[in-house]
Every structure is written in structure tokens, then in C-alpha cells.
Symmetry: C2
Subunit: 204 residues, 2 copies
């Protein structure tokens, strides 16, 4: 015995969402059908539009339904700095700090031979072209501090070496609000190696 | 700074799902946009069809896109027993045991004055009509063993008292595979009160 075919289909379709197993999918389906038909309809419509219309910014590759994302379309950004991130969510996190006024380049992933993701999938050619065409002076590599992220950054460092552009990465060290006791050895070693005098503000 | 308007709308829409907060919704949206457009489209289509087409079985009120659910449409079920459950998911759980061959009546909720759910919302009139029109001999009240479920069952016991029909409820006691040590006192008290001889199979 199962639910009726359409309900079973709906439960199956909900399982495409990350972190949703059979029981959660059933719970979600029952909730929408019993209590929130309007929410379900809105979700269906929005999802359908988003899947069809959301593409990539022509300049930085982030996800957007417009030709250029808001950052690239803005006239107020510093065109001499490009920050390379892995995902649109990383870009959003950096934007929300308000600490950066340059532009971005979104790789939409990281190098991962196991998953078959190589340089071609991450838009490295586009990035090189951009650096040749535009007056970029500095590239900040802000990939994640994971094995794949650092490998990707290292690859980019070598790729960008021949160009006349400064390549930097985000400072690594102890995060704010943490306790030294609970930090991993790798983070502490890097924090030691990168220690700075109290009079240094932002060296280059 | 936020994502582009359509992506923000999608994240908002995903939050109608139970158990999905702002961070999960963002993760789901990014996953669908970056990695599973096809799954997202299927979900949108199925959801839209389900919201429009799934209604209630004319006989037992369970969720189905057909006029009659499979149980009510089946010619093989025992028409003299009706099992009253709170939700379609409860009905499914009982069906999957294979231990019951009668029919169901789905309340689609339980009495809850706080949420404004009264007898009218739970189809009690329909149930009474059904019991008058059809040759039902026994009604099994299988509401959940919660405060609301038991209140609902008690209300039904009084409502059905004038009718010439046997009203029963599911046996209460220790669940299989548990350990007595970890069971709550209420369950253990009921198990004591309902203890049975080893020669009793199914008394009535």
C-alpha cells in the first residue's frame, strides 16, 4: 500500500532537495496538501520560473536572472580588484560584511578530479580574458580553506603568475569569538606563522 | 546585499516547507540552481499538479487525486468495520501492517479548541451518515495516543453511543522492541491495567 500515484510522485520529487529523505519528503507532502496549498502553489510557480530564468552574470558568473548581477552592474565598485570565490553563497557572505568594494569572479565549484571538475568547468579562461581586458591590479583568492579550495587557489596562483597582477589570499588565523582551546592545530600553526605586530594595520 | 530578486523569492518560497529555515532554504535553492535544474523543474511541475488535483476521497476523506481512494474502491475490503484515524499518513501506517482488511475514515486532524478545530472540521456528520447508510458493525478509534487524540476519541465514543455499533480502540501497552527501563510511567500503568492471560488471543 502506498499513497495515490500523484502523491507518491510528489513525495519522490521532494527528495531531490538536499537533506530530504523519504520520511521528511512524506511529511512535507502531507503538510502542503493538508495545510498549505497556497504555499505549495507559490513554491511550484516560483521554482518553475527560477529554473527557467536564472542564469549566470555575464561578467562574474554568479547566479542571477539578469544579464549582469547587481555588483557588476553597479557603477560604484572598484574595478581594479577582483575577488575569486567558489560559490554565489560565498560571494553573498563576503558582500554582507560590507568590507569589500571590488568585484567578484565566481568559479561555481572547485577543482575536483574525483568529481570530474577541471579548469574548463570553473571558467579559468574567462577569468584570464577578464584580467587581460580590464584594468585589474589585484586578484584576491577567496576559495574555501579546504583541501579542494586550497588546491584550486594554488592552481590559480600558477596560472596568474605570468600576468602583471598582484595575487593575494584572505588572511588565515584564529576566527573571532572562538576559544583557542577548541581550535585545530592547523589553524593555530598558521596563526603563529602569520603573527603580526600590534602596530601593523594592513601591510601589503 | 542579497541574491537577485527571483532567487530571493525562491528562497522565501522554500520556507513554506516544514522544518526549513532561512539557511536550509538558501542551501536548497543553491543546490537546485547549481546542480539539479532538472530535479527542480520536475518538482515544480509535480507540485503544481498535486496542489491542483489532489482532493479527498468521497467516502473516507483521505487525500487522493481520484474520486475514491484505493481502499474504498477495492471490492475486497470488509465493509462491516471502519477504522477512524487522524491523518492519511496514519492510515498508510496501518495499511502497511497488512493486519486490517476493513475500511477507514480520516478525520484530517483532531479536536483542538486552541487551533479552532471543532467537530465540524473533522467530518463527524459525514461519519454518522456513513454509519447510518452502510452496514457497519464496528468502529475502531485509532486516533493518536496524545491528549488531543484521546479527547477526540472520547468525543466520538459519546457521539456514537446512541448508534447500534460496537466502538473499540487499539490496544495500549508496551511497544515491541522497546526496553521497560526506558518506557514512560503512563504506558507502563496502562500495560499493567490491560494485562492478559497467556491463553487469551483476541477477546472482544
Amino acid at each position: 500500500m502506498q499513497f495515490s500515484p500523484l502523491i507518491e510522485e510528489m513525495i519522490q520529487a521532494l527528495r531531490c532537495l538536499p537533506g530530504v529523505g523519504p520520511k521528511s519528503a512524506q511529511r512535507m507532502a502531507m503538510y502542503l496538501l493538508e495545510r498549505d496549498r497556497k504555499g505549495g502553489e507559490t513554491l511550484a510557480n516560483t521554482l518553475s520560473r527560477a529554473m527557467a530564468e536564472v542564469g549566470h552574470c555575464e561578467s562574474c558568473r554568479t547566479l542571477t536572472e539578469e544579464k549582469l548581477c547587481r555588483v557588476c552592474a553597479s557603477g560604484k565598485r572598484n574595478h581594479s580588484v577582483v575577488c575569486v570565490v567558489e560559490t554565489p553563497a560565498d560571494m553573498l557572505a563576503l558582500e554582507q560584511t560590507g568590507a569589500y568594494d571590488g568585484r567578484y569572479f565566481v568559479l561555481l565549484g572547485h577543482l575536483s578530479p574525483l568529481e570530474g571538475i577541471g579548469p574548463d568547468d570553473l571558467g579559468f579562461d574567462e577569468l584570464l580574458q577578464k584580467l587581460k581586458d580590464e584594468p585589474v591590479e589585484e586578484v584576491i583568492l577567496a576559495t574555501n580553506p579546504t583541501l579542494e579550495g586550497e588546491t584550486t587557489a594554488q592552481y590559480l596562483v600558477e596560472l596568474l603568475a605570468p600576468l602583471d597582477v598582484k595575487v593575494t589570499h584572505l588572511a588565515q588565523g584564529i576566527p573571532l569569538g572562538g576559544e583557542l582551546e577548541y581550535l585545530d592545530g592547523g589553524t593555530l600553526s598558521r596563526a603563529f606563522a602569520g603573527r603580526r605586530g600590534f602596530d601593523q594595520e594592513a601591510s601589503s
